[in-house]
């Protein structure tokens, strides 16, 4: 618990520091006006751990931007974060978005959970506040807005996303699965997909199945086993998976369900080549590793991951470690960090900042190459408002640490697959 405790303390410290930064500069003389950004994440509730990581990532980025002179093209304007907490509840997410907009937020960023993101979208559209989704994968969040604009029900799309979508997760996962099987010289046939049935889990599962149907690889999804999230017991689900004689179990988890699923897979002694996730939280975070230990060893999962070959990522990861009291800089902190820099880049280029449509114009023309996550190209937004270059990386837990192992250009180590016999 010592770990968690110091973590929490550091988190509070970081929050307090952020609040201090946000709260103090205003009354001082001759300060340029600040630009208020509503930063709303799942800071409490079942998804609190990743949500807190997102908040710290966003704060570190804003601090770095302000320390480097703010938005230079706008007279060194500083960023001011209005922090919000969705409590991992959609209704609260919406209320928080309303609150920060009422307090003067001219930009929204957040929120980690797809369900919460979907609830914040109407606020952004109705109040005409540009909204950059830093994390949330469900396809419909942006696609629905794009459709409404295309069909003329709404004029402007204010919602954009710099994160892989469920369908792009699916395509990459199918691609990586196939490539890794080939590289390892094995030919698994039977894949059992097990997934949480919340908006995120269902969207991820749908994306994976659709991509599999389109790609027609040599392996088959022989059974799909969804569970209610959060589950209280997964033993029967795992028995069902076992009865399907899997070569691979492909889990789409949340932190709590991963802690049920993996020990259950071990206990029921399923003989297979390995556990390969199409992309979800729960399989690589520091807290999960502490709780699951060996059950996570050799687990592969396709997740958005920091590009540790970038020289700045390493120093940033060290800073993050210090600021959080021992946490790893990963998917969540990383995408929120990048998100804040993308917003700064948009503000630099926007013709004026008091007109949301001018900001949206700049957003659409984004072509940002400074991202620290593993991208397939510069950060751009397509006709749906999504960044097609936001791609996942296959990581594996090796020696109790998550390591990028695929695709080759991102790999820091060679994967171990099939997993060794216990």
């Amino acid at each position: 618990m010592a770990n968690t405790r110091s973590t929490r303390r550091s988190f509070l410290k970081a929050t307090a520091a952020g609040a201090a930064v946000a709260g103090f500069p205003l009354p001082l003389r001759a300060q340029p006006k600040t630009f208020k950004i509503g930063v709303i994440h799942t800071v409490t509730g079942p998804l609190a751990e990743p949500g807190q990581a997102c908040r710290v990532g966003a704060q570190m980025a804003a601090d770095a931007i302000n320390a480097a002179g703010g938005i230079k093209a706008k007279g060194g304007m500083k960023l001011e974060l209005l922090l919000g907490d969705t409590q991992t509840k959609a209704d609260v997410a919406r209320a928080e978005a309303e609150r920060v907009v009422n307090q003067g937020a001219q930009f929204l960023m957040g929120p980690f959970n797809s369900g919460d993101a979907a609830a914040m979208v109407p606020v952004a559209q109705q109040r005409r506040v540009p909204f950059l989704i830093d994390i949330a994968a469900a396809d419909p969040i942006t696609a629905n807005v794009a459709k409404a604009v295309r069909e003329g029900q709404q004029k402007v799309q204010y919602v954009y996303r710099n994160f892989p979508t469920g369908s792009s997760f699916g395509r990459r996962a199918v691609q990586y699965f196939t490539e890794i099987f080939k590289e390892a010289g094995v030919s698994p046939k039977r894949v059992v997909l097990m997934h949480a049935n919340d908006l995120f889990g269902s969207s991820q599962a749908r994306g994976f199945r659709a991509a599999w149907e389109a790609a027609k690889p040599s392996w088959e999804i022989v059974e799909v086993i969804p569970w209610p999230e959060p589950p209280s017991d997964l033993s029967t689900e795992v028995s069902r998976a076992k009865a399907a004689k899997p070569d691979i179990i492909a889990p789409i988890t949340r932190p709590a369900s991963a802690q049920l699923l993996l020990p259950e897979i071990r206990k029921q002694r399923i003989e297979m080549l390995g556990i390969v996730g199409p992309g979800s939280p729960g399989l690589y975070e520091a807290g999960q590793l502490a709780a699951l230990k060996q059950d996570l060893e050799y687990v592969l999962t396709s997740v958005p991951w920091p590009n540790f070959k970038h020289p700045r990522t390493k120093t940033l990861a060290e800073e993050y470690l210090k600021r959080t009291g021992g946490k790893t800089f990963d998917t969540n902190s990383g995408y929120s960090y990048d998100g804040m820099f993308v917003i700064a880049d948009i503000l630099e280029r926007a013709a004026k900042l008091d007109d949301p449509d001018a900001i949206v114009d700049a957003m659409k023309k984004t072509n940002y190459t400074g991202g620290l996550m593993q991208y397939g190209g510069p950060i751009v937004f397509n006709e749906l408002g999504d960044n097609p270059n936001a791609i996942p990386t296959m990581i594996q837990i090796l020696g109790q640490k998550p390591v990028a192992v695929w695709p080759r250009e991102a790999a820091l180590q060679k994967f171990v697959f099939p997993r060794p016999k216990v």
């Binding site: 030919s187 209610p228 209280s232 080549l273 016999k421």
Partner: protein, 309 residues
């Protein structure tokens, strides 16, 4: 473990078709039954409190989460295995229950139900958020060597942790029954539950009886929390779903009925487990809540309701 490189199709042929399904059904029954012990124990605590005071303890699940965190502290700080530590957790929760009853519930025992509900929801919120402050938001679980062990009965596997939990839950429920039927305090508790006025007339200290009953109810759920902590990962918001499951069980079994709570716990757990076998697992809760609706429609007092304990 299938070999890399080789065709993974080579497997020991197991029973096919119907046989395979039977294994799965048997496994579902077994896992559900064993897990049901925990459900039973938490529902027994809730039904005791309701039976005696007519107060629905909405903080029940959050008390259970505190039992889990206490087991976690004992295991990580003092190296006490949760299968022993549950006794300490039960004692600690007994004190907490006593304090909550004396400090808060005692003031609203005669108040309308909505006021009681508001108070207990308030207690639930406080307990959940205290856990959030104290332990942080990450889900966690208690590690115990026992929790990793499994025994195989032919094609069926028995999770030793569940087996132990089941046996202990059974024993605790039996002890509680003995306490209620064979001790003076237990008789007074039953007397107060049956007829508060009558209990007062014969000189029972009903306030003390209430406090003890609330404490014992909390102790049950504390023990349940500790026992389940190596099986079920938990985090501060876990309490709500545990409370809901407890209510479901108690209503199915019959509000205030000890036997009803015990049987109801097993029933709900088996129903959910078999639901995961026969339906899409994400619909398994449909089974237990359909059971609830059926009971409410055809036997509103619950399976063992009507005659209170």
């Amino acid at each position: 473990m299938a070999q890399g490189g080789g065709p993974p199709e080579v497997r020991v042929p197991s029973a096919e078709g119907l046989g395979l399904d039977l294994t799965l059904v048997g496994q579902g029954l077994l896992s559900g039954l064993l897990f049901g012990g925990v459900y039973s124990l938490m529902a027994v605590g809730l039904t005791l409190i309701f039976g005696v005071m007519r107060v629905v303890n909405f903080a029940h699940g959050d008390m259970m989460v505190w039992g889990m965190y206490l087991a976690f502290l004992l295991a990580t700080r003092a190296g006490v295995d949760p299968y022993l530590g549950f006794l300490i957790c039960a004692a600690a929760l007994f004190v907490l229950g006593l304090a909550v009853q004396r400090g808060l519930v005692d003031r609203i025992v005669d108040a309308p139900h909505e006021m009681q509900i508001l108070l207990m929801l308030g207690v639930a919120l406080v307990l959940e958020n205290l856990a959030l402050v104290a332990f942080g938001p990450e889900p966690t679980r208690v590690r115990s060597p026992l929790a990793a062990a499994t025994v195989w009965l032919g094609p069926l596997f028995v999770d030793v942790a569940r087996l132990v939990t089941f046996v202990v839950a059974l024993a605790l429920t039996g002890l509680l029954w003995l306490f209620l039927h064979r001790t003076e305090t237990g008789r007074l508790i039953r007397a107060s539950a049956d007829n508060t006025y009558g209990a007062l007339v014969i000189g029972a200290d009903v306030r003390r009886v209430y406090a003890v009953a609330f404490g014992v109810g909390a102790a049950c759920v504390g023990a349940a929390g500790a026992l389940v902590s190596p099986i079920l990962p938990f985090q501060p918001p876990t309490g709500l779903s545990l409370s809901i499951t407890s209510f479901n069980i108690v209503i199915i079994g019959g509000m205030g009925s000890l036997l009803g709570a015990f049987v109801g716990g097993l029933l709900v757990s088996v129903a959910e487990s078999l639901g995961a076998v026969f339906l899409k697992p994400s619909l398994k809760e449909l089974f237990s809540f359909s059971l609830l609706i059926l009971i409410l429609l055809f036997r509103p007092a619950g399976l063992f309701g009507g005659r209170r304990r």
